[in-house]
């Protein structure tokens, strides 16, 4: 004889099954939650590393003449986070009702788009280079890249980064001066080149100085 009648036993069994299912569901939920936290944590770590690489405050350039430094206003680049790769996707247009021949202008648009992608790729390669091995070469390439892009503020920032690595190199000073001039600070640009030329000899820097 059973302790419970059969139908009651079946009910109890279903209750037990439901309980078990709830347990499994909770366990899976817990696992997913733990996974999400782990993923979030890892993502956060990655972002931190990226930001610390780019947001580093440039230290003032050390030159022998202290008085000269005092007169030169220190370039203070803004803290900026790196823009994530956001390749512009072309706006979807409705299908034309009548088929037109492709004009020359359209092909130009396509060329520009391709170019943008290549530039973005270059930028990321340069940034990656700097992240892997922060050196004068990698920093000056980034400064050059921004200068070509006519982003003068960032040119100033990376020129400072480059000159921190090697203050004797002319190119960082030249790019700094050119960018400052482009931003309308010709005096600052001139003073910076004067400081550099006081301790170093560079024909290119001299020519630029004279042109101001």
């Amino acid at each position: 004889m059973l302790n419970n009648n059969f139908s009651k036993l079946v009910k109890l069994y279903h209750k037990h099954q439901a309980k078990q299912r709830r347990k499994y569901f909770l366990a899976i939920l817990l696992l997913l939650f733990a996974g999400a936290i782990l993923f979030w944590f890892m993502q956060r770590q990655d972002t931190k590393i990226e930001n610390t690489t780019v947001q580093e405050q440039p230290t003032p350039v050390q030159v022998k003449d202290n008085t000269a430094i005092q007169t030169t206003p220190k370039p203070t680049p803004k803290q900026e986070t790196v823009k994530k790769v956001a390749v512009a996707t072309p706006v979807q247009k409705n299908m034309p009702t009548d088929i037109k021949k492709r004009t020359k202008d359209n092909s130009k648009e396509a060329d520009t788009f391709q170019l943008k992608i290549t530039q973005q790729k270059n930028f990321y390669n340069l940034l990656l280079d700097y992240k892997n091995k922060p050196s004068y070469q990698s920093a000056i390439k980034l400064a050059q890249f921004y200068f070509n892009e006519k982003d003068y503020k960032k040119t100033v920032k990376w020129a400072i980064e480059a000159s921190k690595k090697d203050p004797s190199q002319a190119m960082s000073w030249i790019l700094y001066a050119k960018a400052k001039k482009a931003l309308g600070n010709t005096d600052v640009a001139k003073k910076a080149l004067a400081i550099y030329l006081k301790h170093n000899a560079s024909q290119e820097a001299k020519t630029l100085f004279d042109s101001f």
Binding site: F6, L9, V10, L12
Partner: protein
């Protein structure tokens, strides 16, 4: 009556000796007990084991099946009155004793005259229920080598009694009955069913089902029998009433059996 109804009777919790199962622990305990009884050199033998491990079955088996040893008396439960106990033992010598005819000392003296050299063995089951005074009386009788006593008791209580000074210092033997292994449980179920021509039912049990039983029975022989008996009762009802889902051995019916026997608590 379908075959499940017949088969479930094979797993009743009784001392039917046809349900003998040669598990490793049982065989070892049996051999130790018979050896101790044959050599007559140990006055006190303790058979220890958790409830449902087969202590009572072992005593029954030795008393009924082993002819090479002499079991004078088998007390299935501890006696309540000291005098009555001694009178019962003295009556084994063939004497017709009236209750309260002799004093306790006189009874012991008579026993001494009739029994000696641990030739006869007295079995006492559920000995964990004995009082301190009763244990002391048994100790006196065994010390004077009047009878050899085999006391079957729960492991926990047995170990507690054996820790006491008057047992610690005396010669005694401990025989411990352990639980069944998972494989033994499978072998038991199979043997029991096959030897009674229930091969159809025996073939319903898959290794995973036997593992389920072993897990919930916690290696206990009695619990194993209880689960299987309940399972077969469920199958019997399901087959009779036409519940197809519950008419074979599967996880559902096994879980139901465990719920009905109280091994799974569904609140």
């Amino acid at each position: 009556m379908n075959q499940f109804a017949e088969a479930k009777d094979l797993f009743s919790d009784d001392f039917d000796l046809s349900g003998y199962f040669d598990s490793l622990t049982f065989e070892y305990a049996k051999k130790q007990l018979i050896d101790a009884m044959q050599t007559h050199d140990v006055p006190l033998v303790f058979v220890l084991g958790d409830p449902g491990t087969g202590k009572s079955f072992l005593l029954n088996y030795v008393q009924q099946k082993v002819t090479s040893v002499k079991v004078a008396k088998y007390f299935t439960h501890p006696y309540f009155d000291e005098k009555e106990f001694l009178e019962t033992l003295l009556s084994l010598a063939g004497r017709n004793i009236q209750h309260n005819e002799y004093s306790t000392e006189a009874l012991i003296s008579h026993l001494k005259k009739n029994f000696h050299g641990l030739e006869y063995t007295v079995f006492i089951d559920e000995a964990q229920l004995l009082s301190e005074e009763q244990v002391e009386l048994i100790r006196i009788l065994s010390d004077q080598k009047i009878f050899q006593f085999v006391l079957a008791m729960h492991k926990k209580e047995g170990n507690y009694i054996l820790q006491k000074d008057h047992f610690k210092s005396r010669t005694n033997k401990r025989i411990i009955l352990e639980g069944l292994s998972d494989k033994e449980i499978g072998r038991y179920v199979e043997n029991r069913l096959l030897s009674n021509n229930f091969s159809d039912i025996a073939s319903m049990f898959k290794p995973s089902h036997l593992r389920f039983i072993a897990k919930y029975a916690n290696s206990n022989f009695r619990t194993t029998k209880k689960i299987i008996k309940t399972l077969l009762e469920i199958l019997n009802i399901a087959n009779r009433e036409g519940y197809k889902k519950y008419s074979s051995v599967n996880n559902a019916t096994l879980t139901m059996a465990a719920i009905d026997t109280g091994l799974i608590d569904v609140k």
